[in-house]
Symmetry: C2
Subunit: 191 residues, 2 copies
Amino acid sequence: MPISFFEHINRFTNLTKGDFDKVLQYFTIQTYKKKEIILSAGSKCNFNYFVLEGCAHMFFIGKNGTQRTVQFAIENWWITDHLAFQRGNITDFSIQAVDRTTILQIKRDDQKKMLEEFPELERYFRKIFEIAYGASLVRMKYVFDYSKEDVYYHFTESFPEFAQRVPQYLIASFLGLTPEYVSEIRAKKRS
Amino acid sequence: MPISFFEHINRFTNLTKGDFDKVLQYFTIQTYKKKEIILSAGSKCNFNYFVLEGCAHMFFIGKNGTQRTVQFAIENWWITDHLAFQRGNITDFSIQAVDRTTILQIKRDDQKKMLEEFPELERYFRKIFEIAYGASLVRMKYVFDYSKEDVYYHFTESFPEFAQRVPQYLIASFLGLTPEYVSEIRAKKRS
């Protein structure tokens, strides 16, 4: 069973249940169907998304027409184009539900008000971004340094929950591999 | 002239000069010679670094022996292996002064104490990491989507202050290009 949003926030801060109920009022809850688009490239990035259940990914369409995943979110992960969200800009990325996905979403202005009302949440978000940025640097190391096969195994061993739940073509896209290549190395492993 | 650390913090918060003086006591200031190692791969990552003057980069040595830059910092930028710093782990990265570089450095435990004494700094660090993480997603887009030549031009046009100050071989390493390739496209542009 996934940790609730309340428990997730209180990993890094100490919100009372009463305050948490006030925090929740800044959010709306929405369920997206499998493959439904949550945010479209070319539109303003007005929301930050917290996945309660399911899985979402953020991608762009490359110049050659290929879809390329840059970020995943399963339960208790945040996902958005953070630079565009912070600035209220048009995004080049799309966000899509991988499965049926339930999300808590918050508008930029509401997030600002929420952080003014509950400044202790700054610590929570600082930790979330510190980990995400730190992990992106480590990711860069293994994407650049490992062979394609090792990147795939490193990823699936480090994040077994993903490997089981996320379609192989999305993992391939995230790692810069073709779906055919992933099928090939999986077949090699089985044989 | 570089913005001072005080002004940098107060971009995102409202520290008084008196509080800032107390904040400063958590840091030590150190000047590193050109090419001096600030943090060594294989050692514990105990410090977070804020560049006051000069330039530093974080790199790893790849399996084939090549040095690969994953992060730069010029004036008013933070640099460390954030994941290892947060957890007090051994790092796989090294940090090195590119030029003669003056740095404010803070130990993990001191940063914790400082954030407890001045919780308003959480907002400052949240913003720093939000921007850094958001930029790393955008970087992933152009590294994956642009031709090698376009990556180089996009980078040097977006960050002209780097292009002028940082040696070409480090920019090449950061972008995943060989120094020879960078010389070639620069020669092509001049002709």
